[in-house]
Homo-oligomer: 676 residues x 2
């Protein structure tokens, strides 16, 4: 029986935090979900999934990887049956997967195998496989990364040699390091895959990596086809992605027919002649799609971290007792709210950024389908920088939130450890962040050179990702003088972040190569943060509601900007953008005071602002983040289900504990005898 | 069969990194281990354990918690048998546990139950239980934390009411939140424990938390004694400490005899009169002991992170091919060595810091045993600050190292994910870092007030933990002018870090309460970093060897100081300690250039410097950190043992995959028919 808190203080605290708010939650929720209809659909999906035992989560923490994998397969099949039963639209199906929010083998089919094949396969290939792929009559993966190469795609080693005699390609793994590795869904699930391999033309010319469609397992009995060696690569760090069968594959001269080259853009003729794609980067769409979805996903992760940690900090009381005889709510400590409210602001910003980016991506993709690559460069620049920023920030936010919960944050039942383990690889997958930083810097320097060669008239050519460079034009005015007003003015904060980006890019452009080992990380961050700051400016001016709700959300966005400026202080001080005044001593103290005051203004709305994310207890799966605030009861309940608790005396007692104690008792008795 | 790399390039690269060094590894190793004898003992223990199948590690990644717990019990028993067989001394036994380096239930007996009981139990209690405890004839835990309170010990709720009639104490859990929680070894293993409970005297006076010795389970059959409810609290986040049975306990009016109060200092007479301890903080020894051991442990964690990541970055090649036709070694990229060499410097610093702290602790403990508390305050101040710094830094270092390894760093076989999961709770256990920060700040402000009231003559009273405050005396000279020389001068760097601490403490002293939400974190860090910097200065001047070895280690220590200054730039710039010059533009560029140059000087010695830690492959248990550099073969071998690979077709095929594919094939065929 669970011991019940007779005072139910935690539940009272949670209720009070909601009662005293005058925010309009439905208005905020529609803002977060992009409209009421979207929220309704989302809710419907959560309802269906959370009431179906297949999607039950409470046993997750106790399963082995093999059991987790089986559970994921059961969920995958059930999801398709529900789709059939409820006649879900494609959008509804997508929303159902977002709501489920578990890494599963089928995710890779949806995120990579299907879009890449559909957008780059020839009409013949799609005629044969299109419907099978769309309906999961075959299940596929995307075989890019190798044991020896990840982000550096140009050095992949797997080969696809064209054999003119039979008009086939021969897929081969020539070295250990060419073994395909880390391929989600490859290990045990996929029947087919798209493999990245160097195209070798007759005569031996190497045309670099191209994509090939290949069958991996028999559709009769799921056995691996001859010439292919396949397996699972083993568990991931910290138990992350346990249900996904990331796999390896080696190919031993495996032949595939000519039509299985994804030849919508680049082609090899029957005679073995290579036909160039119309644009060198036209096949980047798939990669950009995945990166663009990562921004929304990061926003969701931040929202979960904020919800769980703010709820627990609201009901947890520690410290000296006040007049009411209760200890102080932990959320009211400066060192707590200073850590948690910025996470809340990140969530609101990144969810909007993700939505905007998806729209831009869709616009680009529909142009790309007709061979128009005009939007590609800007989307590429934007997604590289945002990918780095959203993954780095979200990983950090989850851990800051987890630690804010003290000891209990380290319980698996707190729920954030699992979120962390699944989010942390996002810093290294889909382009290692340190490699992407270099791309961002190269892009910024290229824009700067273009600007300089064109002079003032070039300002109109600046895209959103390089708009901050306008400040380097001769026609630009000097950096603004910082006053106390600056800290309450979003426009001024955005301008400061743009100046910092402009200055650091200008400084990087004249820097001797390799004179500063970490400069590219700082430049990349400054450039991306200037872009995001400008976007936040547009979010503020485009807010679809005003009044009290509008003022609170504007405050949250301003907190984003203020804490961003604080994090950028080294650059801002180094470049003299915030000069030290002998008068006041520390020139940063006004900024820090402004952050503290804004946090205190937002604090009473912290719970409603997290409620607006609309998470159910099933989605959060966190004993400390339960909606009703009854955290200790939830923790107690969860602990009772631990398998070790199913027997009073552990299985290892007879074999290990008893002999250990008997040995010690014997030695102790010998020791006391020898003393006598 | 494992595919073999025909070129064995990775092994060649590793060999070359060792061949070109002229460092004297045995000299460095003795420095790290504190003498040749200690290293020899360590080696002997590693040899014994690593060749014993009980301590085999390769299956760890696939075990459930229950299996991990059983494995830990088996290792515990085997360790005792080895101790008997080889007649290990207490020091050898300790070194064997350090070498094993796995979180186990018995650890809490050794680290908390035994030292607390031995140092605070009455002679009568020790006569009865001392030998049993020493020989593990009983196994114990330390029941402090409750569901509702952790670091805030003063608010613990469990009660121990003295019953004069029977001269007993009655231990009771009055509320849900008073349930003892997070108690290592309590869940399934411990037969006894020391419980923190509020002492309630006759008449109802609450004398606050005191310690009581209590039996939890029967020595006959290991069943839980009447009136007590015990269980395991469930899995930890990220799979950390899986083998430890952190437990909960509730007490329902459980009586224990009078002698079972740990009454060496505070006592209750037979009549129920309370006898004050001679010093309010005399019982702090146990807590300080655990914190002091955390510094060495953090140093070891840093050393592991540095070894694994530097080895992999040395043999991993990525990027454009050079004249030899090989891609560039990843360690040669600035963004890589800039991340990894500082971790190496942290390891060298913290290992020495840990040894110094243990010596100081031992000196204090022997005085404390005779009631002399004169060294307590300084050890308390030092350990609070160092606990925060060493845990925060080591956690960050492991994750920086893990991410530097790119995608493969996320494999469980890379080994650092497991180290992270076990190290990350150190930020919140044994005093939450954010709470300890406040203690550090309070200590610094107290020292400042004492200094101010005593004036110049007080300088001689400054302890090492507050030595930096001398700079605030009227007799102190002004902060030094930064020149290019500063960056190559360790003394100047230390002085800069001390000035930064002095300035921020002075600024904090005059700051309105709650005007800056994050100031205490910055002050605490500055104070602790000034202390460590001064210690590093002593390490440099006291280096027990010179010549090339000395120059390299001095360089490594200087890298510590330089990167510390870089991380402190916001404070240093804010307080005008590094004024911006209009001439050079960015005043920080010289510092960054100095870091880069020093990194490049140290780079060729990176592998030997990690070899000097002396880790065996068994200790590191990392496919990417293997001594011989054959990382891809190691990764391949480990993957083959994944349980999912034991069948070609997964167990879930018939139930889930086949029906999924059949449904999809049916729908695809219907779709194609309806088109016809």
């Amino acid at each position: 029986m669970a011991p019940i808190d007779p005072n139910q203080q935690t539940a009272k605290d949670m209720l009070k935090a909601r009662e005293k708010s005058s925010l309009n939650i439905p208005v905020l929720r529609n803002f977060i979900y992009g409209g009421h209809a979207e929220w309704e659909t989302y809710q419907k999906m959560v309802q269906i999934l959370s009431s179906d035992p297949t999607f039950e989560k409470s046993s997750r923490a106790f399963l082995t990887r093999t059991e987790m994998y089986n559970r994921a397969l059961a969920m995958t099949l059930r999801m398709q049956k529900l789709k059939d039963e409820h006649k879900w639209s494609p959008r509804e199906t997508t929303i159902a997967s977002i709501a489920l929010d578990e890494g599963m083998p089928i995710t890779l089919h949806q995120a990579a195998f299907e879009p890449v094949t559909m957008s780059q396969g020839s009409p013949e290939l799609l005629k044969k496989y299109g419907a099978l792929i769309a309906n999961r009559g075959i299940v596929g993966c995307y075989l890019q990364t190798e044991l020896g190469h990840g982000s550096n795609v140009s050095q992949l080693e797997t080969t696809a040699t064209f054999i003119p005699e039979t008009k086939e390609f021969e897929i081969h793994s020539p070295t250990v390091t060419s073994t395909k590795w880390w391929i989600g869904s490859l290990g045990k699930t996929s029947t087919h895959g798209v493999v990245q391999a160097r195209l070798i033309l007759p005569g031996g010319k190497d045309a670099g990596p191209h994509l090939f469609f290949i069958q991996l397992r028999s559709l009769e009995d799921h056995r691996v086809l001859p010439g292919i060696q396949i397996g699972d690569i083993g568990p991931k760090a910290m138990g992350g992605y346990a249900a996904v069968d990331h796999g390896f594959a080696r190919f031993n001269h495996v032949r595939i027919p000519h039509e299985q080259m994804l030849s919508k853009f680049a082609q090899v003729t029957d005679e073995g002649k290579y036909v160039q794609p119309p644009h060198a980067k036209i096949s980047y769409g798939g990669m950009l799609y995945i990166r663009s979805t990562m921004v929304s996903a990061a926003g969701r992760v931040m929202a979960k971290a904020a919800t769980v940690s703010i709820r627990y900090a609201t009901v947890r009381r520690q410290g000296n007792k006040d007049a009411s005889g209760l200890e102080r709510q932990v959320i009211t400590y400066p060192s707590t709210y200073y850590r948690l409210l910025p996470i809340l602001s990140h969530a609101y910003v990144y969810i909007q950024l993700g939505r905007n980016l998806s729209k831009s991506f869709d616009a680009m993709a529909s142009r790309l389908a007709s061979g128009d690559t005009s939007l590609l460069a800007e989307i590429h620049a934007t997604t590289s920088g945002l990918k780095v920023l959203c993954t780095t920030t979200s990983i950090q936010d989850v851990e800051v939130a987890r630690r804010s919960m003290g000891g209990h944050g380290y319980s698996a039942f707190a729920g954030l450890g699992r979120v962390y383990a699944d989010q942390v690889p996002s810093a290294t997958y889909e382009g290692d962040n340190f490699v992407l930083d270099q791309q961002v810097v190269r892009g910024a320097l290229k824009s700067l050179r273009a600007l300089k060669s064109a002079g003032n008239k070039a300002a109109s050519n600046l895209t959103p990702s390089s708009a901050y460079l306008r400040l380097l034009l001769p026609s630009s005015s000097a950096p603004p003088t910082i006053t106390n007003e600056t800290w309450s003015n979003s426009r001024a904060l955005i301008l400061l972040l743009e100046w910092r980006a402009a200055r650091i890019v200008a400084s990087r452009a004249t820097m001797p190569e390799d004179s500063d080992a970490s400069v590219d990380q700082r430049v990349s961050r400054a450039v991306s943060e200037a872009f995001v700051a400008a976007q936040v400016g547009e979010m503020i001016s485009g807010l679809p509601f005003g009044g009290y709700d509008g003022r609170v959300i504007e405050g949250l966005f301003r907190l984003y900007l203020l804490t961003n400026v604080e994090a950028a202080l080294v650059d801002i001080l180094s470049f003299g953008l915030l000069p030290s005044t002998n008068q006041s001593g520390d020139p940063t103290s006004r900024l820090r005071a402004a952050i503290n005051i804004l946090c205190r203004e937002l604090l009473p709305e912290a719970i409603p602002l997290t409620d607006a994310f609309g998470f159910s207890d099933w989605e959060l799966d966190s004993a400390l983040g339960v909606y009703d605030g009854r955290v200790y009861e939830a923790l107690w309940e969860r602990a009772q289900s631990e398998p070790l608790n199913q027997t009073e005396v552990p299985a290892g007692y007879e074999s290990f504990i008893k002999p250990l104690l008997e040995r010690g008792q014997r030695l102790a008795s010998e020791a006391s005898k020898s003393k006598l």
